[in-house]
Subunit: 406 residues, 2 copies
């Protein structure tokens, strides 16, 4: 008897028919003699419907109340799935964040899970119940409802799997695994049977949408065996492994691309360089991640720094920097939204210096100008004009995967 | 400074425009210097939408999970109203049953409020916040979500008003008060400025839909000053009073009518009379109210009892009685759905024996045959064929209110 945590995303529970299909999948696992904890997202479209209502009332709705509103989406899903499973003659119970005991920080809209009390859950499992947990939500230490941010349901699943020491955390989604690149951009993309956690981490942080960064980080922290598979046509999917020396390791595992990037430039007059340390401190304070930090010199008279932020943080970062121009010794803040980040990720990059060279020369041969670049032991990233995204992805995929696809 | 509990029903919060209007009403009360606790229903249509989804999965959805599902409706309303009030520059906070501390029995779908912990609510009021409470919901002592049944939001409001010793509990609805009869049935109906709690109780139990029976019972138990008024055109509405000797008292206060009745007959062979005591005990055990109990003799060979139940309980009561035929010494159970109950209610009935006579002779003059009848100190009720409902109401309204309307 194994214990599986099975997470189903919004499209997997997007209609009553889909909920019936998920009920069948879960019951099948139970019938194989396993214990099952299910974690659900809101039915697809529901979260956006709720956000739309909130925005019609207030363009910047109160963040505490927005979390109260949004968590109803998952509550609907878990109740419906529990009904569908109970109707099939199996014992099931839905549990919300306060009933499971998912305690978070009080950052509404992007709370962090601080602790999961597993007593109740273990009791339910001992009573042979299928426990169906509302993902994405928590409670802070004052009992306020919080949400973990988009993709938070993956995090709930991984953290629950870690807390319960589950045998596997299975992320059922609308794709059947992790691909060498986004198949919608390059039809030659192929599925990886295995990917290491470090690589998955890099892929997720660089724009691969199959798993959210925070959930992969959580999996890595707890070494949770994580599998990505499709709820529409379940097979083995892709397993995220922790064995970094696998002989199956290829040099590059995947090409990631993201449009959700904005290039921000903090400029100054020549005699007065902006203080990068203070810029970084301000962003950290507001929970905004910055990446690809580069020193720049635009026009002769200005010197400064450029970096990228996620487009969700765009307006906030501009507001913060502009209201602290004196403090950070800057003169002017600019931003450029028409950009995309394209990256190659692979454990082999660190031991194969040729990869970086191949990467840049392939892009150069296609005439793709790179605006910024950044690399680490397992990735090489460039920022390009957004219009080059598809071309860059296909060029790099052909460069690193051409032989193996034949 | 007074403390008002203001309850808004489904149509009052049925759209974002209506939520904005409610926000204006609440803010206006706050600006007059009063403390306000708001209690909300789900947006109109939402509860039915959720029930429909549940029934598509299971014709008899699990009752615990149905409550988890349905309570999302009120959660959406309170979050949205809080946002709308906060946007207007006032401090507001939404609170769910577990956050307020509304503790109920564990009868899913029709739980009773056992206790309200007011500490948190009082704190919020002391901080000058407008507290916005999700009606209709509670938590049992194991932390399961419960609902109070249809009309439960009125009960939440009244129980909160009692617990907080509020100066008035204002039930905002889509009608502007309590009428002498349903204006949709008789256009000559007129609004009552005052009605005693005992009369309101009788009217509610006999089919007047403006207030739910349980909420009037709760108001009466705690002597909560209760006012019914319209959220669409707020004025003084109708005040429910506790002064039964008012000189303004008329003999009959209202004519109530209900289609939600089913006549049930429990029949037996002549030598074997059914045991009424056991029938009553079975119904009590299953929380089913029976009314208008009458001994009957249908055909020569059968003797038995007839009574009425609410149509919601129809299928359940038939099932219970039929599976206990031997126990209750019965031979056969029949039911008749094509009936309606029409009643006159008034404190003056007990002191004026002419009322009952007037009541029956008025119906007889119009040729309306009564199937059953029942009376108490403050009401006279008859069961008639459903097709006579409107005629019976208009006849009785003309009989008891003709002079005063001129």
């Amino acid at each position: 008897m194994a214990l599986f945590v099975q997470k189903f995303g919004g499209t997997s529970v997007g209609s009553l028919e889909r909920i019936e299909a998920v009920a069948e999948l879960v019951v099948k696992t139970r019938q194989q003699g396993h214990q099952v904890v299910v974690v659900l997202s809101a039915m697809s479209g529901e979260t956006n419907r709720l956000i739309d209502m909130a925005r019609q009332l207030d363009t910047r709705p109160n963040s505490r109340e927005l979390d109260v509103l949004l968590t109803t989406g998952e509550q609907v899903s878990v109740a419906l799935l529990a009904m569908a499973i109970i109707k099939r003659g199996h014992s099931a119970i839905s549990l919300l964040a306060d009933q499971v005991g998912i305690q978070t920080s009080n950052h509404f809209g992007k709370a962090q899970i601080e602790r999961i009390h597993t007593e109740r859950l273990k009791q339910e499992l001992e009573h042979n119940r299928i426990a169906i947990i509302a993902g994405f939500q928590g409670r802070d230490n004052e009992g306020n409802i919080t949400t973990l941010g988009r993709g938070g349901t993956d995090t709930t699943a991984v953290e629950l799997a870690a807390a319960l020491k589950a045998d596997e955390c299975q992320i059922f989604t609308d794709v059947d695994g992790v691909y060498t690149t986004d198949p919608r951009i390059d039809s030659k993309a192929r599925r990886l049977a295995y990917v290491t956690c470090a690589e998955m981490l890099a892929l997720a942080s660089l724009g691969a949408k199959v798993l959210h960064l925070r959930s992969v980080e959580a999996a890595g922290r707890h070494k949770v065996p994580l599998r990505v598979l499709s709820s529409f046509s379940p097979d083995a999917g892709t397993l995220i492994t922790y064995e970094e020396n696998s002989r199956l390791q290829s040099t590059v595992s995947g090409i990631a691309a993201s449009r959700d990037e904005v290039q921000v430039s903090v400029l100054s007059s020549a005699e007065n360089t902006p203080k990068l340390r203070l810029i970084e401190a301000l962003c950290t304070e507001h929970n905004i991640e910055i990446d690809m930090i580069t020193q720049t010199q635009q026009h002769s008279e200005k010197i400064g720094y450029a970096f990228t932020v996620h487009s969700n943080d765009h307006l906030q970062v501009i507001e913060i920097l502009q209201s602290n121009l004196g403090y950070i010794r800057a003169h002017h803040v600019e931003s450029n939204m028409g950009v995309a980040k394209v990256s190659a990720v692979g454990l082999g990059i660190k031991s194969n210096c040729g990869v970086t060279e191949q990467f840049f020369s392939a892009l150069a041969q296609e005439g793709i100008k790179t605006l910024m670049d950044a690399s680490s032991e397992i990735k090489v990233s460039v920022l390009v004009e957004e219009k080059y995204l598809e071309l860059a992805v296909r060029t790099l995929h052909a460069t690193f995967f051409s032989e193996s696809t034949e």
